[in-house]
């Protein structure tokens, strides 16, 4: 065996050991809280929850009323963030950020509001829950350019002591614009709990124009900045954690079209150059070990889903989705076959073979599937839960895409939205105080909760009837308009019958 091969093997082993350590550290966090502590469940964003529903008969448990009427659609701001679930001091809580600048904590069993924390801007990023040094902590990235660490317990005697620390990523000035914060993640790096977050700050001023996309690493216990790495002028989307050549690595999707691999220790580049994607990259990245090789999965705006080798940043496969993919892929082993699940703008949920990119199945919803899938076991089989922009939450079998459950979450509250500019809410699953639950926030302003019950609230598979299409759509006024114009035209025609072409008549009359 040559030196190079040996070195490669050692590096591979190191990488596997690091991944194992990371997984163990996450498992250590997860063992206490189970649930869904961050976007994509874990720092790898794999979305595979150990939650097991005894059957697929889901009953609607509760829904929160919209916190307040929000009249205006703001580009890039969803109504809710994706939720974070945790059992804190025996109390099952749903933490969710909102368009109205507030982070809400709801009791997961009753839907009652446990507490709320007001920030200076809409909270679009999923909160992160983790016990740090024995203290339960909730981290919130708000578009007021700040990251907050909060005490998540429901029964605090003094609400004033809820905020543990706050880090302002950019000092306020008159021309500052709302920041765009990525979904943060927390992981143990060199024995220290570190919070990573992508931030895009903007000062829209003629004299001092700031457009800065950067990644921050903060000490989770104190909020002290460990490092900060500027990627460029564009936005930074949801990062994930893996390893490159044996050291912990942060894989960061840079929205203008690149993927960076940064050392989780100091933020330095681990690839010779960032991987350039063909177009903008709005999806998050997930990472998984497939056949002894660490792979990154992502979508993009090029009509393909991509898989990269985490060690080198080289493309392993590309699978045609034929439209945009903004959904962060979820990962699971199905019958020993690694599989990636993602949603797309073609209304389909796709299951792709993670090793080859070959399509295993697809399921058609009736709307854009922008949400990231959450995987859980339901009635003994693995299922994919996902929000679709047809107002419904869907549950389909992970093995073959068979329809299982659907529920109407409520309609869009605004007259329009800008396609592709806002990443809407995703549903999550978790076992909260021993009860498996599906939590599905909706852009209608309501958060819905489902659990196994005696009543089946399944709306059944989607169907399109002729009258549905006629009633829902624009057809009636347009038909009336067209009939009126056509009648006018025909009346003129009947009057005119045959008249010589106007041009020839004019030409005859011309002085030429």
């Amino acid at each position: 065996m040559g030196d190079r091969a040996l070195k490669s093997q050692i590096a591979n082993r190191k990488s596997q050991v690091t991944i194992l350590c990371l997984a163990l550290s996450v498992a250590a966090i997860a063992a206490e809280v189970v649930d869904w502590p961050m976007f994509g469940l874990n720092p790898q964003r794999q979305g595979l929850s150990p939650t097991s529903f005894p059957s697929a008969t889901l009953e609607h448990q509760w829904s929160t009323p919209p916190p307040r009427t929000l009249y205006t659609y703001v580009e890039g701001t969803p109504y809710w963030s994706s939720p974070c679930l945790a059992t804190v001091a025996g109390q099952p809580l749903v933490f969710i950020g909102c368009y109205d600048n507030t982070l809400y904590a709801f009791n997961a069993h009753t839907g009652a509001q446990a507490w709320a924390f007001i920030t200076g801007g809409p909270v679009s990023a999923t909160p992160v829950y983790a016990p740090v040094g024995g203290q339960p902590m909730l981290f919130v990235a708000s578009s007021d350019r700040s990251i907050y660490a909060l005490d998540p317990r429901g029964n605090l005697p003094d609400e004033g002591k809820r905020k543990l620390w706050q880090v302002e990523t950019l000092a306020w000035r008159g021309t500052v614009m709302p920041a765009r914060m990525s979904n943060p993640l927390i992981a143990a790096v060199d024995g220290r709990q570190v919070l990573f977050c992508g931030v895009w700050n903007n000062v829209r001023s003629g004299t001092e124009n700031v457009q800065r996309g950067e990644v921050l690493a903060l000490d989770a216990a104190t909020g002290k900045e460990l490092w900060r790495r500027e990627l460029g002028t564009g936005a930074v989307n949801t990062p994930c954690l893996g390893s490159v050549r044996g050291q912990p690595a942060l894989f960061v999707p840079y929205e203008p079209g690149a993927v960076f691999a940064l050392s989780a220790r100091d933020g330095k580049d681990l690839w010779p150059r960032p991987h350039s994607t063909g177009d903008e990259l709005h999806s998050g990245i997930s990472v998984a070990q497939v056949n002894g090789r660490q792979l990154l999965f992502m979508g993009g705006r090029t009509a393909w889903a991509y898989c990269l080798d985490a060690e080198t940043g080289q493309q392993v496969w590309a699978s045609p989705i034929n439209t945009w993919v903004d959904s962060t892929p979820a990962f699971a082993e199905l019958d020993g076959r690694p599989t990636v699940f993602l949603g797309s703008y073609t209304y389909f949920i796709f299951a792709l073979d993670a090793a080859t990119g070959k399509e295993r199945w697809r399921y058609r919803t009736r709307g854009i599937v922008q949400g990231s899938p959450a995987l859980a076991t339901m009635g003994g089989e693995l299922v994919v839960c996902v929000n679709s922009l047809d107002d419904h939450v869907y549950v389909v079998a992970a093995r073959d895409g068979r329809f299982i459950f659907r529920y109407n979450l409520g309609a869009f509250p605004w007259s329009h939205y800008r396609k592709g500019k806002t990443i809407w809410e995703s549903c999550v699953v978790g076992t909260l105080a021993g009860r498996p639950m599906l939590i599905a926030p909706s852009y209608s302003g309501v958060v819905h909760a489902f659990a196994v019950g005696s009543r089946d609230d399944n709306a059944g598979p989607p169907r399109d009837s002729f009258w549905d299409a006629l009633g829902e759509s624009y057809t009636i006024p347009v038909v009336l308009l067209v009939v009126a114009v056509l009648a006018y035209t025909l009346a003129r025609l009947a009057k005119a019958r045959h008249r010589p072409a106007a041009r020839r008549r004019r030409a005859d009359a011309s002085p030429h």
Partner: protein, 356 residues
């Protein structure tokens, strides 16, 4: 009743030959290639316009083919100018990279239009090229259809086509939050009605040519309100096919069989914008009075009927140079009005302003 979704939009996709930026800006997918390509082709077109030679129309076809292949197959960004102006203006100062991406194509085309007239429409636009090509291939049908008996057949076909448009839009059922996203289907239906009206009464042609400004205003209003709208040309530029765009494209091409460049005449919002710029462009097609025999030989060759009774409509003219090439006396020529000091203040007039 389950609809047989046999025509799923995602099955159709235009595979781009180049999927990565050739000349990227920094660590981004932003590409300078489309800008350079448009600029290069515009310069070539301008040179060919100025240089009088017998096979200029073949050269124009070649430039159109290169442009269509490059835009459809070669480069990946979308080149929807009307939408991009609003989007680019929205993000200026917030995301300058995005603003650059959105505005660069329009800025390039607008700059060349200001100098050389609607060179994009006549020489580079893939939709215009497709309409022209189809109209040329089916020229015999228009000759036959000019007979009065065919008028009723035409109307019957129009009604059938209208039904087909509705049926296809029902089948594909645009399921966005707002129908305006897929409004191009309705613009195409509107175009069909305009074409039918114009065929019944040709004197309405001039009126409906001004209709483009209403379309432009309505589309701007829609964009400013915050909703996107697609166009029939989206199928050429985007990486995947939207059904509304595909149906519109099909409709526009079919209408061009009946009336040459129907979309360019009555609907095209980009054409309307460029027409306003072309009105005061430096290069104008002017008539040499000493050579002109006034036999109207330049009129029937115009694909958009912009020459009426020796009057050229500056806003509608596509600068295809067919009239210049058709004149056996060499009476028409490109004149640089800036250079010749002939630039005059032309008061706004809804009427065509220049006499051949």
């Amino acid at each position: 009743m389950d609809l047989p979704f046999g025509w799923e939009g995602d099955r159709l996709v235009i595979r781009k030959v180049i999927e990565r930026a050739l000349l990227p800006l920094g660590n981004t997918a932003l590409d300078l290639t489309p800008f350079l390509m448009m600029a290069g082709l515009s310069v070539v077109a301008a040179l060919l316009m100025r240089w009088r030679f017998p096979h200029r129309q073949w050269a124009r076809r070649l430039v159109q083919t290169i442009s269509a292949v490059a835009l459809i197959m070669g480069v990946h960004p979308c080149a929807c100018m009307t939408r991009d102006i609003i989007l680019g203006a929205n993000v200026l100062g917030r995301d300058d990279l995005g603003a650059f991406k959105y505005l660069i194509v329009f800025a390039t085309v607008a700059a060349f239009t200001t100098l050389f007239g609607r060179i994009f429409c006549g020489w580079l636009c893939p939709l215009g090229f497709a309409q022209e090509l189809l109209a040329k291939l089916t020229a015999w049908t228009r000759g036959a259809a000019d007979r009065p008996a065919w008028l009723y057949v035409r109307y019957a076909l129009g009604v059938l086509f209208l039904g087909a448009l509705f049926y296809s839009s029902y089948k594909t059922k645009p399921a966005t939050f707002s129908f305006i996203e897929h409004a191009m289907v309705f613009y195409t239906i509107g175009l069909l009605l305009i074409v039918l009206t114009v065929l019944a009464d040709r004197s309405k042609d001039w009126f409906f040519k001004r209709f483009r400004y209403a379309i432009l205003a309505s589309i701007f209003a829609v964009f400013i309100y915050g909703v996107y709208a697609n166009g029939p040309f989206c199928v050429f530029f985007t990486a995947y096919v939207e059904w509304a765009s595909l149906i519109s494209c099909f409709g526009v091409l079919l209408l061009s069989v009946v009336l040459m460049n129907a979309w360019c005449r009555y609907m095209c919002p980009e054409g309307a914008m460029l027409g306003l710029l072309a009105k005061r462009a430096a290069w104008q097609i002017n008539r040499n009075d000493a050579r002109c025999r006034r036999d109207g030989c330049c009129e029937p060759v115009c694909p958009v009927d912009c020459i009426v009774m020796g009057i050229r409509d500056r806003e509608t003219c596509l600068y295809c140079m067919k009239c210049v090439d058709a004149c056996p006396y060499g009476a028409l020529e490109i004149v640089n009005e800036l250079e010749a000091g002939k630039k005059q203040t032309i008061p706004f007039s809804p009427r065509p302003t220049e006499y051949f």
